[in-house]
């Protein structure tokens, strides 16, 4: 049900965008919506993180995944069991940029005769990593639409991203020459990786079982965003100069639709992207912010060495020694256990 709902939802979004073009709501879709989406995204994300930060971390609870710092001659696993702030930064870096924990992934196999075995399983790690990195590169490449002149760094990323395609035109069907402009690998990888993650959710019974609409929807949305982008770049080409005139007008706060017409595909693309931005802060996509704040990953494992303070350390009743001795004095004396007060 959640799956079908998500399909309907993204289809409806495309329909809304097409209707918007038909009803000439271009200004709304290309100017009002992007501003609103960006504001919702940045303020929403900031608010969510701020809200998390308002809750304290009462205890130092890193999940230790290697040998702790202890006796001098015992070799410490500094990264998986961080012993200093620097080590935590290293752990966080590997976690956030290389998905270290996911790299450990194994797959359980239940074999005949009741044997349980574990195999290495790096597919989720690989495609997760490809998905996120290619998404980042795609976003960075799009920055060419928001700077004039285009910064060298953005050009360099585009250059690197199209490196393999240099002079290697792919033959397309009649009249469709998909090789121009140069094939940007990040877009294709993004689409492939997102499709993999989607199919994995469909095919693996356990993952399908746990999937909610909030899992299907963003994946489908991103797949459609990638598809519309790829179509615009290689097939139903849009007037990029007109697009950039529009985006620059947004960036410089002089919003205006360009005189030249822009293909409907662009409006579909931008409505989907804006939906993603607006949806982001209210969804699981907030793992972008949350991964930085996870107490099992971002704390030093030195709880015995440096005292961690809990700001709400509760006031509680204790059963004191004198109460205890009052309860058992006679038996203690009889058993020859020293007491504070003799009878």
């Amino acid at each position: 049900m959640s799956f079908i709902f998500s399909i309907i939802a993204v289809t409806a979004l495309v329909g809304v965008a097409l209707a918007g073009v038909a009803l000439d709501l271009r200004y709304f879709m290309a100017v009002v919506l992007p501003y609103a989406a960006l504001a919702t995204f940045v303020l929403g994300v900031a608010y969510r993180v701020l809200k998390w930060s308002s809750a304290p971390v009462p205890f130092r609870i890193p999940t230790t995944c290697g040998q702790a710092k202890g006796l001098d001659w015992v070799k410490t696993n500094k990264i998986d069991n961080p012993c200093s702030t620097g080590a935590v930064l290293a752990r966080m870096f590997l976690e956030i940029f290389l998905f270290r924990s996911l790299f450990r992934n194994t797959r359980m196999e239940y074999r005949e005769g009741g044997k349980v075995r574990y195999g290495s399983s790096k597919w989720l790690w690989l495609f997760g990593l490809l998905f996120h990195w290619s998404f980042l590169i795609v976003v960075l490449r799009h920055m060419r639409f928001f700077f004039e002149p285009v910064p060298g760094l953005i050009q360099a990323i585009e250059h690197a991203d199209t490196f393999f395609e240099m002079g290697l035109p792919l033959p397309g069907p009649n009249g469709l020459e998909v090789s121009l402009p140069l094939l940007a690998q990040s877009g294709v990888i993004l689409l492939a990786a997102a499709t993999f993650l989607f199919l994995r959710r469909v095919v693996v019974p356990q993952v399908r079982y746990i999937s909610l609409a909030s899992d299907w929807f963003p994946l489908l949305l991103i797949i459609l965003i990638a598809k519309t982008g790829i179509i615009m770049r290689y097939v139903l080409k849009v007037d990029v100069v007109a697009v950039k005139k529009l985006t620059m007008s947004l960036a410089t706060f002089h919003p205006a639709l360009p005189a030249e017409p822009i293909s409907f595909m662009f409006y579909v693309h931008i409505v989907l992207v804006c939906t993603l931005l607006i949806y982001f802060p209210f969804s699981k996509l907030m793992h972008l912010g949350g991964v930085w704040l996870s107490p099992t990953r971002n704390l030093v494992n030195n709880s015995r060495e440096v005292r961690h303070v809990n700001p709400w350390n509760p006031e509680v009743h204790f059963h004191t020694y004198s109460e205890y001795e009052d309860d058992f004095r006679e038996q203690m004396i009889e058993a020859g256990i020293p007491v504070e007060k003799e009878a």
Binding site: W52, S101, N105, M286, P295, T296, N301, R304, H319
Partner: protein, 559 residues
């Protein structure tokens, strides 16, 4: 309620991991004997000031929840969202990638999809969305939200007392979402309604009022240790006279009370006593702080603090310099990650220093508490122990890393170093089942009761499976560990799945290998088993023990 635990083959042949076709929100747990624990006794709950103590039974439809139960739960949830960032973040950021799904020993052993860590967390996350989040309130199930109902509470009780807080899932989660943290908080909330299991509630009450989980009163505690010492006298030939509640000792020694109570923990306890005697350590036991473990950790953080308090309080009263802790898993999670925060700073103590080697335990500079295994390792490294590892030659040992010391501390190499120093045959289980990936015994976090035996045997299946693997491949016949709950629970687990393998605490093996001044021929181990019988079983030639004062015919083994 007499419970028939199914035979191992019955479990293995019926086990499957395919989820059912209906949505998980539409399925209910079945309270089947053997798969859940008895509710807490009224007196135990009231003894700790707990509210809503009453007679109730999980299998019955009416749980007699307090009138405003819904308000209590919602308030409890909100309060904890504000106090624990972990809880808030973990409620919000799971992407349900499923990496954790097959990492849980309860999922592997039961095939119940709600034992996948992700779904266990969703049990509470769905209510968080359905009661607190706009989308969840409006769209309900579609947004993964649901309302708080009595059925939900029952489900929470069933599944949050089917999680041992072992943190294995958290190792694999790309955001470090820790189901232990979620279970801890969920149990706090369930507890608000007077819903607790007896195996946790009664030990907690006993520990608070009497000094230890088992409710051993001071004289009984002392007698128990003296009883162990008479066995030591017989099997090792030395007399040990430890002190209790002695002021002015250098070190206070605290260990889980299980170690003075039941086989095979008592042999570990004999191990400590022999080791400290060997070293001539200036230490004392306490009958007041006679519990290292802390079942308060499985109750709520306030109770954990109330129980843990006694260690520092007693160390202050006795005027010791520092505290030495015995072999225990969750005790060390609490000591390492919570104690100083809750009950510190321990300014009345000194930075621990090994009086024999001079080693300063800088890693325990603030908490001032040292693990007996790191202490032993330090002594061995400085050649302070006279050891004959060949005395353990009849054992082929494999090492069970306890969840808490592995994933809540990182205590991996110290026990291995000690183990390698005291025995000659040590083989590891497969990499995916040890160290930070170690599997729980299946009975941790207060679930080692008797009435939930099927649950425990299923939960321990992955651990036992790995032991069986090395047993078949390398002839392993002993499973070593440094955890009192392991010692209590791995024994029935091995009896059930791999009966050829015995269970022992590390200090027992240390003491077996220790060459004591004035000792006898050592023709028996600490358990009183004839060494030559054990050697024969292991296919080793017998040792020609000297026969000073009628050591007894070495061939009378009863196995």
């Amino acid at each position: 309620m007499a419970t028939q635990t199914p035979k191992p083959q019955e479990i293995l042949t019926t086990l499957g991991h395919q989820p059912p076709s209906e949505n998980w929100m539409d399925t209910k747990p079945e309270f089947r004997p053997g798969m859940y624990c008895h509710p807490v006794k009224i007196a135990s709950l009231e003894g700790m000031g707990g509210k809503y103590a009453r007679e109730w039974a999980p299998a019955e439809p009416d749980w007699k929840l307090p009138a405003d139960w819904k308000g209590i739960v919602k308030e409890g949830l909100k309060d904890r969202l504000n106090r624990f960032r972990s809880f808030q973040v973990f409620m919000d950021i799971c992407v349900r990638c499923g990496a954790c799904a097959d990492k849980c020993h309860f999922f592997i052993g039961t095939g119940d999809p709600k034992n996948m860590p992700v779904l266990r967390a969703e049990l509470i996350r769905s209510v968080y969305r359905g009661e607190f989040k706009t989308a969840g309130k409006i769209l309900g199930k579609l947004a993964g939200g649901r309302k708080l109902t009595e059925e939900v509470i029952k489900e929470w009780f069933y599944y949050f007392f089917q999680c041992t807080e072992c943190r294995r899932c958290s190792v694999f989660c790309p955001y470090g979402i820790d189901t232990a943290e979620i279970t801890i908080i969920a149990r706090e909330i369930i507890n608000l309604l007077g819903l607790q299991i007896d195996w946790i509630g009664t030990p907690v009450n006993a520990c608070y009022h009497i000094g230890n989980h088992l409710g051993l009163k001071p004289h009984t505690f002392k007698e128990n240790i003296e009883y162990l010492l008479s066995d030591v006298e017989e099997n090792v030939g030395i007399t040990i006279e430890p002190t209790f509640n002695r002021k002015g000792a250098e070190i206070l020694f605290v260990t889980p009370s299980g170690d003075v109570f039941a086989d095979p923990g008592i042999f570990t306890c004999m191990g400590y006593l022999i080791l400290f005697e060997h070293l001539g350590l200036d230490y004392t036991w306490s009958t007041y702080a006679s519990e290292g473990g802390n079942f308060g950790f499985f109750t709520n953080n306030e109770t954990m603090k109330r129980l843990n308090y006694k260690m520092y309080a007693e160390s202050k009263r006795l005027g010791v310099k520092w505290i030495l802790g015995g072999e225990c898993g969750h005790m060390w999670r609490v000591v390492h990650q919570y104690m100083d925060t809750m009950n510190g700073p321990a300014d009345h103590l000194e930075v621990p220093k090994n009086p024999l080697t001079g080693t300063v335990f800088a890693n325990a500079r603030s908490t001032k508490m040292v693990h007996v295994t790191e202490f032993t390792a330090d002594c061995i490294k400085h050649n302070k122990l006279k050891l004959d590892p060949s005395r353990n030659d009849h054992y082929t040992v494999t090492w069970h890393d306890s969840c808490n010391t592995s994933r809540g501390m990182g205590f991996l190499e110290e026990p291995r170093f000690v183990l390698n120093s005291v025995c000659n045959n040590f083989v590891e289980m497969p990499d995916t089942t040890i160290r930070e990936q170690t599997f729980c015994c299946g009975s941790g976090s207060g679930l080692n009761a008797g009435e939930n035996m099927e649950q425990r045997m299923r939960g321990g299946l992955p651990r036992a499976n790995a032991v069986r693997y090395v047993h078949e491949k390398h002839g392993v016949n002993l499973l070593g560990n440094i955890c009192a709950i392991d010692r209590a629970s791995l024994k029935p687990l091995m009896d059930y799945w791999v009966p050829e393998v015995a269970v022992a605490g590390l200090s027992e093996l240390v003491a077996n290998a220790l060459i004591m001044e004035g000792e006898n021929a050592r023709s028996t181990n600490l358990r009183g088993e004839e060494i030559n019988d054990l050697r024969e079983e292991a296919g080793l030639p017998p040792i020609d023990f000297p026969d000073p004062d009628e050591e007894g015919g070495g061939e009378e083994g009863d196995e």
